[in-house]
């Protein structure tokens, strides 16, 4: 066994990326390529009365103005965001109302900028509030979880509790903002459609295009070899893929549609704002007797997305009385979608802040409080955990962070103008797998090619899968080529839900084992090679009914400038229990990347909804602040060895998201420890520190 799994292997495609050789969706040169530019609505609700394309069509290089009047008709799908230009309704500001196509990007854009669009506007409703009259209970929350849960009697539990905490926490809308904007290059060869598309899983984009254009599976190919990030916003097809394919069909030319940074703020999803009331009741020692987590959040009128914000509470702490609920309001806003750790990221901010408040109310150390509330089985539902090592993470982190030396009193440490504090919070994220297919072929020269529709969105998935295959095939990594990002390879899970390695790794292991068996049976690799295919659908369906989650503990040290309210984070530490780690280098990057995004969520990221106009106002990188290098000082992520044979053959739990879960609470708790002021709304901007 060559044993590369676990090693800190550098990215295989690193060189081709830094030299520019790697091709992204908008990089493919095609003869006759034309460019589409999206025109967006300037009202938040109403109808498009008319689009006057006359002048635009006279402009140099302009080939077409596609609007609801002349657009190709699409087949119905369950996602209204994909049914672009099918009717005149405007559901939110920034919605696509036309696509201008030109020989060059500049020509298309110049015509799009001046395109006269007349609207009949209606009053819009864009502000989320906990008392909104149109709040409703969705049928389920993402991905397919119960909206509300109840065990025991929470009111009675709270009424009888010696100590209670009852506060409302809120998080703002946040935009994913991957480095590479969404982009598609599409062309038709007769009735066969090929798209080069930037996404987190070509399978889903393939399915969407097949349905929208009423085609056979074999008539659509989606290629996504390299992808510059997604953070959830590329989890499914986005409208630029539909527009490019549609315009290519209408014009009989290859078409490219690339979104601008600004367009990413309305067309591809974002994290819903949340308003979360958390009520905790405990005995004097902090042992919970009741936990209630009520969430209010938004969706659009085009597509119902219900973030699973309260599910965090369903797995974290033992309590006889537990209730969780989600209420939604459909506003005249762009559709919120997945953003790294949907549910757990905002949910953990509320609950882990509340736990800190409870720790203080009881006079119990926050780590000890969590240990006292460690459940034996899943608090909601009672199923056993496949493995659960939260306490080990807390203890390991406490020792590395020197938690024992901490003086719990808030607002007492000062260095010049800086108030200093430390905080802790717990993390969790589900460890799931989804059915996938793959093939492995043995070549005559002793090398192997693995094919599967995985996506490497910058995570290192291609490299990790190469390690997995090399180990299974017992050859060095350079004997294995892993080809990904091509829907022709057959259906596979997306890079999402932290399920990539668990799903793809599983099917790759299965295919490799099959191949080895076939080679043994044939007594070697025949002259024309040998191919093995695998599908994990049955294996996954046969899994035992267990709760599978990774856990972690996050520690933060902060300094708060008493004069300006500016916050610095000199130290962040995350300790995780996430099953087997396939690549120590890329895993560490994922974890510290998640924590950095959590720091950014704690202190900076906030999309500001403009009540009057109904759009997210700060739609650029000067206005939407993401942590800069200077904001990230000492940051470290580590993991404890965790073996769990109830997951998948690799024993991996997934690491893409847990890094962002709990970070914001750890920082907010540290800010409280520094200042004595509790911050229950994110981000913790200087103005909110100065005038709470």
């Amino acid at each position: 066994m060559s044993g590369t799994v676990g090693a800190p292997v550098s990215r295989i495609e690193g060189l081709s990326k830094v030299t520019g050789e790697a091709r992204y969706a908008a990089d493919f040169p095609l003869a006759g390529l034309a460019h589409g530019w999206i025109v967006q609505s300037t009202i938040a609700r109403g109808r498009v009365e008319s689009v006057d394309a006359g002048a635009a069509l006279q402009m140099p290089g302009v080939l077409a103005v596609v609007t609801a009047t002349n657009a190709m008709r699409l087949q119905d799908v369950d996602d209204g965001e994909l049914l672009v230009l099918q009717d005149q309704q405007v559901h939110y500001r920034g919605q696509t109302v036309a696509l201008v196509v030109g020989d060059t990007l500049e020509q298309a854009r110049a015509a799009a900028d001046g395109l006269p669009v007349e609207y009949q506007a209606e009053p819009h409703d864009v502000l989320l509030s906990a008392s909104h009259p149109r709040l409703f209970a969705p049928d389920h929350v993402n991905p397919n979880l119960p909206t509300d849960t109840l065990t025991g009697d929470v009111e009675a539990g709270l009424a009888g509790a010696a100590v209670t905490v009852d506060h409302t926490y809120s998080t703002p809308a946040e935009h994913n903002n991957p480095m590479e904007p969404h982009a598609t290059t599409a062309f038709w060869d007769g009735d066969r459609l090929t798209v080069y598309d930037s996404n987190q899983g070509a399978t889903r984009v393939h399915q969407a295009l097949v349905r929208l254009f009423g085609l056979e599976d074999s008539a659509v190919r989606v290629v996504s070899e390299h992808v510059g990030g997604g953070f959830g916003s590329k989890g499914g097809a986005r409208s630029q893929a539909v527009l490019a394919a549609m315009a290519a069909r209408m014009l009989g030319r290859p078409i490219r549609v690339v979104l601008s940074r600004k367009q990413l703020f309305s067309l591809v999803g974002y994290r819903t704002p949340t308003i979360q009331r958390v009520r905790l009741g405990s005995d004097r020692g902090g042992r919970l007797v009741a936990l209630d987590h009520q969430v209010v959040e938004q969706t659009s009128t085009v597509y119902e997305f219900a973030e699973q914000t309260a599910v965090f509470s369903r797995v974290m702490y033992a309590t006889p009385n537990l209730s969780t609920s989600h209420r939604l309001v459909a506003l005249d806003v762009p559709t919120p979608r997945w953003m790294r750790a949907p549910g757990e990221a905002p949910g953990s901010f509320a609950v882990e802040s509340a736990m800190d408040e409870l720790a203080e109310a009881c006079g119990v150390d926050p780590i000890e409080l969590r240990i006292r509330n460690e459940p034996v089985t899943e608090p909601e539902g009672g199923r056993p955990f496949s493995s659960r090592n939260l306490i080990a993470c807390l203890r390991e982190g406490a020792s590395r962070f020197r938690w024992a030396e901490r003086d719990p009193r808030p607002g007492t440490r000062r260095d010049g103008q800086w108030l200093m504090g430390t905080g802790v919070a717990a993390s969790t994220y589900p460890a799931r797998s989804a059915p996938s297919t793959a093939s492995v072929s043995a070549q005559e020269d002793g090398s192997f090619i693995v094919r599967l529709t995985a996506a490497d969105i910058g995570t290192g998935a291609r490299t990790a899968l190469t390690q997995v295959a090399a180990d299974e095939l017992q050859v060095p990594m350079d004997k294995v080529e892993v080809r990904i990002g091509d829907s022709d390879f057959g259906p596979a899970m997306i890079a999402g839900g932290s399920m990539g390695m668990a799903s793809w790794g599983w099917v790759v292991v299965k295919a490799c084992r099959q191949l080895i068996a076939d080679i043994d049976r044939c007594g070697g690799v025949p002259d024309d090679g040998l191919v093995a295919r695998a599908d994990t659908a049955d294996d996954i369906a046969a899994q035992a009914d267990l709760v599978r989650h990774s856990f972690g503990a996050q520690f933060a040290e902060v300094r708060v400038d008493v004069d300006t309210g500016e916050i610095r984070v000199p130290r962040l530490l995350g300790v995780f229990a996430a099953g087997r780690i396939v690549n120590a280098k890329t895993a560490r990057s994922q974890l510290i990347g998640g924590m950095t995004m959590g720091l950014s969520m704690a202190l900076f990221e906030e999309s500001l909804m403009d009540a009057e106009f109904g759009d997210y106002l700060n739609h650029d990188f000067a206005g939407y602040h993401i942590a800069a290098n200077a904001d990230v000082q000492r940051i470290d992520a580590t993991w404890i060895d965790e073996e769990d044979d109830q997951l998948n053959p690799l024993g991996v739990k997934g690491i893409g998201e847990i890094g962002i879960v709990g970070t914001a609470a750890a920082i907010a708790n540290a800010v409280y420890h520094a200042t004595g002021q509790r911050q229950r709304h994110l981000p913790i901007r200087p103005d909110r520190v100065l005038s709470p």
Binding site: T564, E566, L690, S691
Partner: protein, 328 residues
């Protein structure tokens, strides 16, 4: 983005002739603000006249002991210049506190002086804005204004001037040299920017087509004891939410002279004359500093979401003054 012409004259007379000769012509410095605004459709020049080939990339000593900085000097060169760092440290610090390394390498002194507000409505042509389209309205007043003005605004506009550099220049009583159609003019920085009043679209007192050629920093020996402090929403690469440039001349525990300018609180770099006035001849104590800051901020007219700027800049003024006492 509209199509536009591009010229890069080597001689000032050509540049001036070009700007006078073509309707809709605009000077282009590093382009870090103008080009962004063109992409947004806020600016739609017919021709760009690139001024970076003009002989304005210099920093030299003036006969009176001051410094003269050419308008084409890149922000990074200005901040790195030894004479600036030694004699006007607040200026070097202010420039370094702005934007990013890449932007400072491109940005010029002239362009920095004339950069436009970051008010989000100003930057979005699908929305009203009195500054961009006179009489169209000011949605910021009831909308998003957490980083807009608490001083010097008008009913028509409460935009803030975003420049860090200009705050330090205001503190040092810089003089801006311009070539206008009517001839050359030396404009003290105090007369360079206009408050919005009834015409928020007019931000400076320059004539259309004015070419900035240089900025003079008058001699001020005690400017060596100066400091720029900027508060912002992340540790680097973001505009100020409040800033101060302070120079202090203190002897025997008494304030002999002082310069204070504030950033991100007003439509112009805000010289805190009232605070200065209240400090001259007073003991250099924290109490006096607080009183001075209050004397200035008494006039603040904060709105719903920018009240925090009052304590913010008060604290910045007081702290920076204390630090300068300790340093002198």
């Amino acid at each position: 983005m509209k199509e536009f012409g591009y010229e890069r004259p080597a001689h000032p007379t050509d540049a001036l002739a070009m700007i006078a000769g073509v309707a809709g012509a605009r000077f282009l410095g590093g382009g870090t603000n103008l080009v962004d605004l063109m992409k947004l459709g806020v600016e739609t020049p017919a021709v760009l006249i690139d001024v970076t080939a003009l002989p304005y990339d210099f920093v030299t000593d003036d006969a009176d002991g001051g410094l003269r900085v050419g308008s084409g000097t890149r922000n990074s060169d200005l901040a790195a210049h030894l004479a600036v760092r030694r004699r006007y440290p607040a200026l070097a610090q202010a420039v370094l506190a702005g934007a990013s390394g890449q932007l400072r390498n491109m940005a010029t002194v002239g362009g920095n002086l004339l950069q436009r507000t970051r008010c989000p409505y100003f930057q979005d042509v699908t929305k009203p804005c009195n500054k961009r389209v006179p009489d169209s309205g000011c949605p910021a007043r009831d909308g998003e204004h957490h980083n807009l003005a608490i001083l010097g605004g008008s009913d028509l506009c409460i935009a803030t001037n975003p420049s860090d550099m200009a705050v330090a220049l205001a503190a040092f009583d810089a003089v801006v040299f311009v070539e206008e159609p009517a001839g050359p003019r030396a404009v003290p920085i105090a007369d360079f920017y206009r408050l919005p009043a009834d015409e928020p679209q007019r931000e400076t007192t320059l004539e259309p087509g004015a070419l900035i050629t240089a900025v003079a920093l008058p001699a001020l020996p005690w400017a060596a004891n100066s400091r720029y402090r900027k508060a912002r929403e992340r540790a680097s690469y973001s505009f100020a939410i409040g800033s101060v440039a302070v120079a202090l001349d203190v002897a025997d525990g008494m304030v002999r002279d002082v310069r204070i300018a504030l950033g991100a609180v007003a439509p112009i770099p805000w010289r805190a004359y009232r605070a200065e006035q209240s400090l001259r001849g007073q003991p250099a104590t924290e109490v006096a500093f607080r009183e001075a800051a209050d004397a200035e901020l008494e006039w603040a007219q904060p709105l719903r979401d920018n009240r925090y700027k009052v304590p913010l800049v008060r604290n910045l003024m007081v702290r920076t003054l204390i630090e300068l006492v300790q340093a002198s």
